[in-house]
């Protein structure tokens, strides 16, 4: 009898347990769905944004126009010249540059990486050590500099926080810059503080007007970076500094970094060496990506040793993937 009574009473306890189970399950499901929705959600591209690259508004600095430079002028940060120089594009191949100009403030940050312009003609640039840190001290490596479009003066724009102190294992800070004309956003990839054991790099979205960090993606060592508009929404594409891979992350229509990164394609086996990293990502036309690959192993490299290869890819809007053209 007691067993029977016990048996009779069991559905009550059972039901109670299952109610809790259902509730917990529902909560967990809701959390999972929310996380997945956040991770996979993209804001559909509004009509005011065109498809493809987002650098259409970039213009030549005002000071350069006043000095007689045209839209074909080159802002260069080359191997032998410390800092930034501007010159007219030679009319013939192998001719030396003409009309070369360098503002006195342009070598204060040592050797520099590739510059980007904004819609006003301001230039943003970051230090990029070549074969040593003599001209590129570690404390400067995570700073973005701005060349004012009117005065041509270079000054510190924003000193980005580093997730960890400088390590002798990593002489680099900022690796990539990109500008989005749609949202007036500057994107910066930094691997400052990363070392062999820990990956603490950060991708920043910065407001060029205020110099404030708007959004960021942490714990990722990213290299070249660029924004591309698809009908499904904006995405920030970036090469990994540790792997021969390109990933992307969704941006909302204000340029904020949203959700979790997704793998786009591997570059393993591409080019002569087969282990290039994506040091630059450039979008041309409405469906073409150029990935500029080169050797990168978190150590310094002479310009003469750096072999660069451009890899063209085409966007397939049906599958939402990039396909190598070669």
């Amino acid at each position: 009898m007691p067993k029977k009574r016990k048996h009779k009473s069991s559905p009550v306890r059972f039901n109670s347990r299952w109610v809790w189970g259902v509730a917990i399950t529902a909560i967990l499901g809701a959390v999972a769905m929310a996380v997945m929705v956040i991770n996979s959600s993209e804001q559909k591209l509004p009509p005011r944004f065109g498809l493809g690259g987002v650098t259409y508004c970039q213009v030549v600095p005002e000071f350069a126009l006043e000095m007689g430079y045209t839209v074909s002028a080159i802002m260069s940060t080359n191997e032998r010249e410390k800092g930034l120089v501007i010159y007219d594009r030679p009319t013939e191949l192998a001719q030396p540059p003409t009309h070369v100009y360098k503002h006195p403030s342009w070598d204060q940050a040592g050797y520099l990486g590739t510059p980007v312009n904004d819609k006003f003609g301001n230039i943003y640039v970051a230090p990029a050590p070549r074969v040593n840190l003599y001209d590129n001290p570690p404390e400067q490596q995570n700073t973005v500099y701005k060349v004012d479009t009117n005065s041509g003066e270079m000054a510190e724009f924003i000193k980005l926080p580093s997730a960890a102190p400088f390590s002798p294992e990593n002489p680099f800070g900022i690796l990539g810059l990109a500008y989005d004309c749609d949202t007036n956003s500057l994107y910066v990839t930094s691997i400052s503080g990363s070392d062999r054991a820990k990956e603490v790099g950060i991708i920043y979205q910065i407001d060029p007007d205020s110099g404030e960090i708007v959004s960021q993606l942490k714990n990722i060592d990213a290299f070249g970076v660029g924004v591309f508009n698809r009908t499904l929404g904006k995405r920030l594409y970036f090469g990994l500094a540790r792997e021969s891979e390109v990933w992307s992350v969704a941006l909302d229509n204000d340029g904020r970094i949203k959700g979790k990164p997704r793998f786009e394609f591997s570059m393993v086996g591409w080019g002569a060496d087969g282990d290039d990293k994506a040091r630059r990502i450039i979008f041309r036309k409405s469906d073409e990506m150029i990935v500029r690959g080169s050797l990168f192993n978190f150590n310094l490299l002479a310009g003469s040793e750096r072999q660069q290869t451009d890899y063209p890819l085409r966007y397939d809007p049906v599958q939402d993937i990039w396909l190598p053209l070669n």
């Binding site: 399950t25 967990l28 003599y134 002798p168 990994l240 979790k260 086996g269 192993n297 310094l300 003469s304």
Partner: protein, 604 residues
């Protein structure tokens, strides 16, 4: 209501309850997986620990024929030499059927196919070989080969070992003509079967493979051998040679043996987990970098030989760093390393580089170690008089212009003397370069430093520097002396071309600074200490000279030699060039060495 519905459903039937319970268990599991997946941080992350052993980098030398007999390798070398003497220096593929043989014949005789058979400057033959002749594939059809849709066409693939270049000729047998030629730099066609066999033999006979496996394998134990490196995601990026990777599978692990078929040598071996190498790239560079990093950058190695014992480690930017150097239980050096190489090409333009040497990845070095250090006997008059610990550092493109090759040598002699040496093997960016290696030696114990004034030893009481050529030397060639209170120490003999290594004199700047326990003045890994192109004593160590007393204190000796390169034929120095040997380009080395000898005043 929602709750009641479920209550009713569950209470109706126990069987149903069990089924639904199972469904919910599965659902919970699925949701858990979803959460884990959703929260997973995508790229990056730390590497998982594995017990799989690493591998080894083989010393770059041809197999010793006395120890390992490789008739196939010798036969191939003989054949290559014979082909290089022919009017058309192309090693042909044999055993082809008639159409393929005809296609090969048409290709090799066509001037359009012969574009890279000879060195353009000397006209000397380059090593070329037909690797394959295949029927044209649909994917090969272009405007030039459109007619091949209706005719018999073949694709003839030739590899140029000297240029690491693939030439592909499209042949129409009906027209008996070469329709098109494609050249692909830094690419290798699929290798023919005999090269597969050769690669397997080299791998099977290599001591590194036997050491890794624990036995000498049979050739048929290798798999994936004819998967050429490009297709197998395996390449020799640094040597730019033809490489393949015979692989030996042992239970759940695979041993990749990367074989360089251009030189006929083993590059090294690397273990991987079978099935886990989907995204793993095993190449010459990854193999070398992994082995050097894990074996010499991440840990200190102890060395004991004769009366000497010491520790060493590869640094981020200061080369090979020795520490705790003892002779007969007496601590001689706290540490010794090479901080910078300053290379200047023109005093007027101040063009040059400050190069750091060190670990191949995650370092501040621009010229890096591809292999770990080696220890060899020092032999004089057929007698072993000591040993040398040697570490080399290369630029990826050496010996091409603007690429560098540096060496560090630590010579230890049985009599207690030792020499710290910096070496350069070119090639650099010009023939007017001056190399200034910055050596740093932290001496153990409390010492006094003195210089010979022509008649007696004069102590340096405070931190200072001197140019070697501005001082005198004893009849024995000693210019400086470092001595502790117990009368033990060393005479210092700078390089004056007397060491028999081709050195032309160091013309060094010598700096002595005080060692500080609480203040780092170069004891830790140093970022670049000085600019490339100062031609005076301002090479970096002078920043630590601030008139502190150095009499009876811990001392740091900085030694900055100055070596001018020379490309004059017959007089090359600190130089490198490329020359043809066996139809491939090899480096011709003209090293220069500098560094002081330390001779014990009295042994402990």
């Amino acid at each position: 209501m929602f709750k009641n519905l479920f209550y009713r459903t569950y209470s109706q039937n126990n069987r149903n309850v069990k089924v639904i319970r199972k469904i919910f268990r599965v659902l919970n599991f699925v949701i858990l997986i979803l959460i884990i997946t959703a929260c997973n941080t995508a790229p990056g992350g730390s590497a998982t620990a594995t017990s799989t052993p690493l591998g080894a980098v083989a010393p770059r030398a041809t197999l010793d024929p006395k120890q390992y007999s490789l008739p196939a390798l010798e036969a191939q070398a003989t054949l290559v030499q014979a082909v290089l003497g022919q009017p058309i220096p192309i090693l042909l593929l044999i055993g082809l059927d008639s159409p393929r043989a005809l296609a090969q014949d048409i290709a090799v005789r066509d001037p359009g196919f012969q574009g890279d058979l000879w060195d353009p400057s000397t006209g000397a033959p380059l090593r070329n070989e037909i690797f394959g002749v295949y029927p044209l594939r649909e994917s090969d059809y272009t405007e030039a080969t459109a007619r091949c849709a209706d005719t018999q066409c073949y694709r003839v693939e030739m590899y140029n070992y000297a240029k690491n270049l693939t030439t592909i000729g499209m042949i129409s047998l009906n027209d008996r003509a070469l329709l098109a030629v494609t050249k692909i730099p830094d690419a290798q066609p699929d290798i023919p079967p005999y090269l597969t066999d050769l690669a397997v033999q080299i791998a099977s006979q290599s001591p590194e493979v036997a050491a890794a496996l624990g036995y000498v394998p049979e050739s048929d134990q290798a798999v994936m051998a004819n998967t050429k490196t490009a297709l197998n995601r395996t390449r020799c990026q640094r040597s730019r040679h033809l490489c393949v990777a015979p692989t030996f599978v042992v239970r759940e692990r695979a041993l990749w043996a990367i074989v360089d078929l251009t030189d006929g040598v083993l590059v090294g071996v690397r273990w991987t987990d079978v099935g886990a190498s989907g995204g793993q790239v095993i190449t010459e560079r990854s193999l070398q970098d992994d082995v050097v990093t894990q074996s010499f950058c991440e840990k200190t190695t102890s060395l004991e030989r004769g009366d000497w014992r010491m520790d060493f480690i590869l640094t981020s930017s200061d080369g090979l760093r020795l520490s705790n150097v003892h002779f007969k239980d007496r601590l001689v050096l706290d540490s010794a390393k090479l901080v910078d190489w300053h290379v200047s090409y023109s005093a007027t333009e101040a063009f040059g580089y400050s190069d750091a040497i060190g670990c191949p990845v995650f370092s501040q070095a621009a010229v890096v170690a591809f292999q770990g250090p080696v220890v060899e006997d020092l032999i004089e008059d057929d007698q072993i008089v000591g040993f040398v610990l040697e570490q080399e550092f290369w630029g990826e493109q050496w010996p091409l212009p603007c690429s560098y090759y540096y060496e560090q040598l630590f010579e230890f002699y049985n009599d207690g003397s030792f020499r710290v040496v910096a070496g350069n093997v070119g090639r650099g960016c010009g023939n007017n370069g001056t190399y200034r290696p910055v050596l740093r030696l932290a001496f153990a114990n409390q010492n006094a430093f003195a210089t010979w004034d022509g008649g007696d030893w004069q102590d340096w009481l405070t931190e200072q520097w001197q140019l070697q050529t501005e001082g005198d030397q004893t009849p024995e060639g000693y210019q400086y002396r470092i001595l502790d209170s117990g009368g033990l120490g060393y005479y210092i003999e700078p390089g004056n071309g007397q060491f028999g290594d081709g050195g032309r004199g160091d013309n060094a700047y010598i700096y002595v600074t005080r060692y500080h326990d609480g203040r780092d003045e170069g004891d830790m890994d140093m970022i670049t200490i000085g600019p490339c192109c100062n031609t005076d004593h301002q090479q970096g160590p002078e920043r630590f000279i601030d008139s502190e007393s150095i009499n009876g204190t811990g001392l740091v000796l900085w030694y900055v030699a100055q070596m001018q390169n020379d490309d004059t034929p017959g007089g090359e120095y600190c130089w490198a060039d490329s020359a043809l040997d066996g139809g491939v380009y090899v480096a011709k080395e003209y090293p220069c060495f500098a560094g002081p000898l330390f001779v014990p005043i009295s042994n402990p």
